[in-house]
């Protein structure tokens, strides 16, 4: 399951929310990917997520593979909302 989001935080996908998002992703055994500018990367590495350099107004996708993809995606969305990323 894959969804697209626009990052609305003026700080972009900065260190603290990125670390929380990665931490949440690592709670699950599922493959979870972050898509940016047409390429996909694992959401389970903070270094990879920071190396994307996602700024305010840019789009990302999150893709979660089954099982329980929808629930996991919602938990990741909750983290993004908590930090006003989306």
């Amino acid at each position: 399951m894959k969804r697209e989001y626009v990052i609305v935080s003026t700080l972009g996908l900065h260190a603290r929310p990125a670390s929380m998002l990665v931490k949440e992703a690592n709670r699950y055994e599922n493959e979870i990917l972050i898509g940016f500018k047409g390429q996909s990367f694992t959401l389970k590495s903070i270094m990879i997520v920071l190396s994307l350099g996602v700024s305010e107004g840019e789009k990302i996708t999150l893709e979660v593979f089954e099982p329980n993809a929808e629930l996991i995606l919602e938990s990741l969305e909750n983290v993004m909302r908590e930090f006003d990323l989306i």
Binding site: L11, H14, A15, G53, V54, S55
Partner: protein, 156 residues
């Protein structure tokens, strides 16, 4: 969108430190690691307290990889110029029971865009565990400079 070529800061040996003495706390380590940036007026002294408070308030999220922490605060909290300092500690800097590091890279971004670009720049260069391990062991300013001048194998 700020990309790497827009980052005007060039790392020199003035911004690199190797600390041989044991330190008492991560707070002290952040203060020591900030010194080159304060001396050269890249950050105001209160930026240091903002970085320390961010860890106290939010936990050690600045420990981004094995042995590496990236202390930083919001640009409005006393960042004057875009840049960073690199400090290797011979003795571990303890952030929590599970998290201790030997390398602190203090970031000073001028605004959200350059801050994100700086995070990206650093992340692309330090995401090589073996390389970092060697670097920390070698403890040479020249080697550190070389690491940050190396091109990276990732497309913009």
């Amino acid at each position: 969108m700020v990309v790497e070529k827009d980052l005007t800061f060039k790392l020199t040996e003035d911004f690199i430190q190797i600390i041989k003495e044991p330190i008492s706390s991560y707070e002290e380590a952040i203060k020591i690691a900030s010194k080159p940036l304060i001396d050269k007026k890249y950050i105001k002294p209160f930026y240091v307290n903002s970085m320390i408070n961010a860890v106290k308030d939010n936990g050690p999220y600045i420990v981004v990889a094995t042995d590496i922490a990236l202390p930083h605060a919001r640009p409005i909290n006393g960042s004057e110029k875009l840049g960073f300092s690199v400090t290797i500690f011979d003795h571990p800097v303890i952030f929590s029971e599970e998290k201790s590091v030997h390398l602190l890279i203090v970031l000073s971004g001028l605004d959200p865009m350059t801050h994100i670009a700086l995070l990206k720049y650093i992340a692309l260069r330090i995401d090589f565990p073996n390389k970092m391990e060697q670097l920390i062991k070698k403890k040479s300013k020249k080697e550190i400079l070389k690491l940050f001048k190396d091109p990276v194998l990732m497309e913009e």
